[in-house]
């Protein structure tokens, strides 16, 4: 799931550790989210949206379609 966490974080002049501290996860988790290697839980997504003062869908682009995902 694509996201623009890195852009928002850098625009706020924050390190990954700063953001991790603010939302209560490890720096490695923020790094994995920024690299699209880990999709955060709904709870963490809400925390990130709260931190950046925006809606979840402004940060994350899930690229999903309705119906069964049969690949």
């Amino acid at each position: 799931m694509k996201n623009d966490i890195r852009r928002r974080r850098e625009a706020s002049d924050l390190s990954q550790a700063d953001l991790a501290e603010a939302v209560g996860v490890t720096r490695q988790t923020i790094n994995a989210i920024e690299r699209d290697r880990y999709d955060p839980s709904i709870e963490l997504a809400f925390k990130l949206a709260l931190f950046f003062d925006c809606h979840i869908e402004e940060i994350f682009d899930p690229d999903v379609e309705l119906g069964f995902d049969d690949g």
Partner: protein
């Protein structure tokens, strides 16, 4: 006092307690192996259990959450992959060993039959846990 060495930041505290946790594990395992090697097996078991108690004290004695959601996701993926690998070995090897025993009187080495029995027990346990989780109230 632990508060004297505890970092101020939450992430620092997580790192601190994780190192303490892994340190207890290392002391327990290394101490066990060392005592075994030196011919003191009971002392080794004592050190090992001491390490376990230390790990439990660190894990349950602090309000700091030592592992976040990604750590738990990684654990789940690793567990899934392990089960898939064990399942692959069991599905392929068990019928072959059974057939060889029946047809050619082949007797599998204890390590092979032990591993297959262990994998079977693991999947039985997995099935029980799965059903409990599925139907729990």
């Amino acid at each position: 006092m632990i508060s004297d060495v505890l970092p101020d930041s939450h992430l620092g505290q997580v790192r601190f307690y994780r190192r303490l946790l892994y340190g207890c594990a290392a002391v327990g395992v290394v101490g066990f192996l060392l005592a075994e090697t030196l011919g003191y097996p009971l002392v080794g078991v004592g050190i090992y259990w001491g390490g376990l108690v230390g790990m439990g004290a660190v894990k349950f004695g602090t309000s700091v959450r030592l592992f976040d959601e990604r750590d738990r996701a990684l654990e789940r993926r690793a567990s899934n992959l392990t089960l898939y690998l064990a399942g692959g070995v069991l599905i392929v090897a068990a019928p072959a060993v059974f057939a060889l025993e029946e047809v050619r009187g082949y007797e599998a080495p204890p390590v092979v039959s032990g591993a297959l029995s262990g994998f079977s027990a693991l999947f039985l346990l997995w099935g029980v846990v799965y059903l409990v989780l599925k139907y729990r109230p």
